[in-house]
């Protein structure tokens, strides 16, 4: 079981004379149970690529194979694909529409042919996991704060228990503790169900803390597909394309520039602590 991207390109019609390729010949493979991070400058094609993965956008060239089948083939069951590949959109407003929070979270599982009890149980569980207070369950999702909407949107997708979870900037707008809890919860669910998670994020710190493998997009091209450590060892290259290394890595570089001979290939607080202690003791 896997997802294969075979020379995917995507052209958008712009109002300009020139057509614009948002994605240029992307080839990659995702195995079951991977946790992939996707980074890239504003407009580099991340959201477009995610929408292609779940069949919402049709590529202008190339194919996506999900478990060996081409998802953009005429007879392919996209309905089934979307029940297995869940996607949280960059702006949560784009997926909230029911009259109450609870109904909204039930919407996805309802389409899966589950019993009423299973649906409601799954919805309650997801709402609880996302830390949504029970007072909000029967309010309109449109009357929520930005971070509350985000939590409901994630809950709606988690409630479907997808095999592949695509998260486009899921942590934006969450308060710092809420963000930790929710990303921890997602990592926990991933470990429990052995599902695949794809996380798009502008937070290099979150990418460093959670994912196993990173894709770096630059102007529609997949320029790096490597481990976290490998990707964040290219500080200068990342900065040139609008990105950065995690805060912690950048602190290690600053120490080194001051003449302290430390290993700069460090991405988390724990690693940094050990490395600095090693130097100071």
């Amino acid at each position: 079981m896997s997802i294969i991207l075979d020379k995917i390109s995507c052209k958008y019609e712009t109002d300009m004379i020139n057509e614009h390729y948002a994605l240029k010949c992307i080839t990659a493979k995702i195995e079951d149970g991977e946790f992939i991070g996707v980074i890239g400058h504003t407009g580099s094609g991340k959201s477009t690529l995610m929408q292609i993965l779940n069949g919402l956008v049709v590529p202008s060239g190339g194919s996506v194979y999900y478990n060996g089948e081409d998802i953009h083939e005429k007879n392919y069951n996209l309905y089934k694909l979307r029940s297995e590949v869940g996607m949280v959109f960059q702006y949560p407003e784009h997926q909230l529409f029911e009259t109450t929070v609870f109904r909204d979270v039930c919407f996805g599982p309802k389409n899966l042919g589950w019993s009423k009890k299973e649906i409601e149980l799954s919805a309650f569980e997801a709402l609880f996991q996302m830390g949504i207070e029970s007072e909000l369950y029967y309010q309109s999702p449109f009357d929520l704060s930005g971070g509350q909407k985000r939590r409901v949107a994630i809950a709606g997708v988690l409630a479907m228990k997808p095999k592949v979870l695509i998260l486009d900037e899921p942590a934006v707008g969450l308060d710092p503790m809420g963000k930790r809890n929710i990303l921890d919860k997602i990592a926990e669910i991933k470990a429990e169900r052995n599902c695949t998670v794809i996380l798009v994020s502008h937070s290099m710190d979150d990418i460093a803390d959670y994912v196993n493998r990173v894709w770096v997009l630059d102007d529609g091209k997949l320029i790096i597909d490597a481990s976290v450590k490998e990707v964040f060892s290219h500080k200068r290259d990342l900065e040139e394309i609008g990105l950065a290394v995690p805060q912690i890595t950048s602190i290690m570089h600053m120490l080194k520039d001051k003449g302290l001979v430390v290993n700069t290939n460090v991405t988390t607080i724990d690693e940094a602590k050990m490395e600095i202690l090693r130097k100071l003791r």
Binding site: T42, V172, G173, P176, M177, H202, Q247, I248, I251, K279
Partner: protein, 281 residues
């Protein structure tokens, strides 16, 4: 620039027939004073009332109780709506709520045009604002066809072009790539320093708080802490209780202290931490 005396804001929830279902007190006695030219950060958990407070500052909402003056204008007085909106420009949490026109440059020019700025000036302002956010290339695009971060940049440009006395950014940099975020904050900081524009920055990113002169922490509709970033960040436990956290550098500093390393207290930036570590070596 802003003076709030014990303001209360209540959302009234109604059922389908319009009967009052419940009253939510979302701002619960907020008093504060912001001087012209100050750079203020507002932080707080999801649903703590930050955006509601911001909407009161722009007179999209008016306090249920208490009094609020913006640039010397009493927000109770309906006649002041227009003047208040001219002096305080707001960038919303979701840029979709802000897009008015189908062409980027018209969208950015909408604010100044409404303010009666002469046409030649408008174009100059639009150009400067789009340059400031690095979106001049997209001037003739449709905002609906932009990526999430590109929309956010256009929304920021729209407010810059109004040349308001006070700019309110409600998580306006959350979708930007690391370089874009840095540049935007530097632009904002420069406007604040050079032109004495008052800045109200609402954010969940603790790294951004460092730019502020003063921080207000909101918790369940109340301001529970205020002070300089340095003061606010001395109390990790209190922040965590409010669902907040420290910037990465200060978390690392605290971890090192727990290991018995004698790092100077009261640090704020990564640079300061690096200097403190180098001194020990």
């Amino acid at each position: 620039m802003i003076k709030a005396e014990n303001i209360v804001y209540e959302y009234i929830r109604r059922d389908e027939e319009g009967n009052v279902e419940g009253i939510d007190r979302v701002l619960d006695g907020i008093s504060l004073d912001v001087q012209t030219g100050e750079f203020i950060a507002v932080i707080g958990h999801n649903g703590s009332g930050k955006s509601t407070f911001a909407r009161n500052l722009n007179r999209l909402l008016t306090p249920t109780e208490g009094s609020l003056w913006i640039d010397g204008l009493n927000s109770d007085d309906m006649e002041n709506t227009w003047k208040i909106r001219q002096s305080t420009g707001m960038v919303f949490q979701n840029p979709d709520n802000q897009i008015i026109s189908s062409v980027v440059e018209e969208d950015v020019g909408f604010g100044p045009e409404n303010m009666g700025v002469p046409t030649d000036d408008i174009w100059k302002r639009v150009e400067d604002a789009l340059n400031a956010v690095d979106m001049i290339k997209y001037r003739s695009y449709s905002p609906n066809k932009l990526s999430g971060g590109q929309k956010q940049r256009v929304a920021i440009a729209g407010v810059l072009a109004m040349h308001p006395k006070c700019i309110i950014l409600d998580e306006a940099t959350a979708m930007l790539d690391p370089q874009g975020r840095l540049e935007t904050l530097q632009t904002v900081k420069a406007l604040n320093k050079m032109e004495k524009i008052t800045i109200i920055l609402i954010t969940q990113d603790m790294e951004e708080v460092i730019y502020a002169d003063k921080v207000f922490v909101m918790d369940h509709g109340k301001i529970t802490m205020s002070g300089t970033p340095r003061e606010i960040f001395t109390n990790e436990e209190a922040l965590k209780e409010c669902q907040l956290d420290l910037p990465q550098a200060l978390k690392l500093a605290n971890e090192l202290r727990k290991e018995g390393i004698d790092i100077t207290e009261g640090l704020l930036t990564a640079e300061e931490l690096v200097d403190a570590i180098c001194q020990l070596y």
